[in-house]
């Protein structure tokens, strides 16, 4: 039977933990709202970009001079995996599920004889993958710790880095692994191929109804547009992941708060029992002492 004092200390410590977890839940909830607004605001651009891309791809498709960003290098030997995680933990399985998915994908590709390189975005993913796949990690990993707001420029930077690697022939295929925000309680691990650009869904090219003219010409525009398309895909993944992170943390902290509540209830019960037992014991001692006299 633990002593009364030790029970009291435990109850107090669980109570302060509960205060922290419930505060974290509130913070995550408000950050989630902000992240969602940001993701929503990015949608119009992405949609219009896609529309333009469809019109362009339709007219360039099949041309042997199409840029590598669109059709790849023609090989699929070296794969780049971009693993998007958070910089902080305490978000349930959010980070480890990305870590696991990336590791499995890397293992599968390697068993097929491919070379794998991994670029990590976010500190947690790096920590996770360093244990087993350290030699495949690209230096330096990217981290936005301490940054208040994700900007498009951040995504553009990643896009540029990937493009440079592609042009230098260091990679052939690039895939981004991130948590897609489905709802506050559900984040779906998504693997999305970004190079070569996935073909636009068939049958939708016509519904624009218009044959576009291009100025200067298709290929020049495509050359400028593709890095932008790449950046916007990365940007979307980053935003989805940010929203997912806060959602996951909110759920995790909600559970933690509830568990702490249960624990406090149980400990308080034990504490009261111990207190009662003490009183009973003292009474017995007094009575039997009195009888003995």
């Amino acid at each position: 039977m633990p002593s009364l004092k030790s029970l009291r200390t435990r109850i107090n410590s669980v109570k302060s933990t509960q205060k922290i977890t419930s505060a974290m839940k509130m913070v995550a909830a408000s950050k989630l709202r902000r992240a969602q607004t940001q993701a929503e605001a990015a949608r119009p651009y992405a949609e219009r970009m896609e529309r333009m891309m469809r019109a362009l791809a339709a007219s360039v498709a099949g041309s042997p001079t199409a840029p590598p960003l669109l059709i790849g290098t023609g090989k699929d030997q070296t794969h780049l995996l971009i693993a998007v995680t958070a910089d902080r933990g305490l978000a349930g399985a959010f980070n480890s599920s990305i870590g696991r998915a990336t590791r499995n994908l890397a293992r599968r590709l390697e068993s097929e004889g491919k070379t794998v390189k991994i670029l990590t975005v976010g500190r947690k993913g790096r920590d996770y993958l360093r244990r087993e796949l350290a030699s495949r990690l690209l230096e330096p990993g990217i981290s936005y710790a301490g940054k208040r707001r994700l900007e498009f420029a951040d995504a553009a930077e990643i896009g540029e880095r990937v493009t440079t690697m592609l042009m230098a022939g260091e990679i052939d295929v690039a895939t981004i692994v991130y948590n897609r925000f489905q709802s506050v309680i559900a984040q779906v691990v998504t693997e999305q191929q970004i190079i070569p650009a996935p073909p636009p869904p068939a049958g939708q090219a016509e519904d624009t109804g218009a044959q576009y003219e291009f100025e200067p010409d298709e290929e020049t525009i495509l050359e400028k547009l593709l890095p932008q398309v790449l950046a916007i895909q990365v940007y979307r993944a980053l935003l989805e992941s940010a929203a997912g992170e806060h959602g996951a943390r909110m759920t995790a902290m909600d559970n933690a708060t509830r568990n702490a509540g249960d624990m406090i209830k149980r400990l308080t019960l034990n504490y009261n029992r111990a207190r009662q037992a003490n009183i009973t014991k003292e009474l017995i001692e007094i009575i039997s002492g009195a009888e003995a006299v």
């Binding site: 219009r48 529309r51 995504a155 576009y212 200067p216 020049t220």
Partner: protein, 135 residues
């Protein structure tokens, strides 16, 4: 009849409203867009977008480059940034120009795509400086 102008940046929808005419800085020269224009996709250089109501310019925005999709009903501008001329700062513009020129010089003798990108940057910074002069 007005045409619908939309200016979108990756971070948000900046502007969406009907205008009588809009002049956009296309890569090969300024281009006026009225309602009923032939469908086009154009690349933009750095320069000024001018919104017309009747014969009057109501708004002017600086864009650093981007793309525009023109259809008979609307004109959509995809720009990485679009800043109203009144909010441009001369010092910022000059700093950018200096940076862009430094980057071009530092690259030595770039070729092909890379040269184009660097030259675009210099050109768009120069247009920004010029735009501050005209505001």
């Amino acid at each position: 009849m007005p045409t619908n102008l939309e200016i979108v940046s990756p971070e948000k929808l900046l502007l969406s409203r009907p205008v009588d005419m809009v002049v956009i800085p296309a890569a090969e020269g300024d281009m006026g867009v009225l309602e009923g224009h032939t469908p086009m996709i154009v690349a933009l250089r750095g320069g000024t977008i001018a919104l017309y109501e009747g014969d009057r310019i109501t708004d002017q925005l600086y864009v650093a480059g981007g793309f525009a999709e023109v259809t008979p009903e609307r004109c959509t501008v995809l720009a990485n940034e679009a800043i109203p001329l009144a909010e441009l700062s001369r010092t910022e513009a000059e700093r950018r120009l200096a940076e862009a020129e430094a980057a071009y010089d530092a690259a030595g003798k770039p070729e092909g795509v890379q040269e184009d990108a660097l030259l675009d940057r210099v050109q768009s910074a120069r247009a920004m400086v010029e735009a501050t002069g005209s505001a």
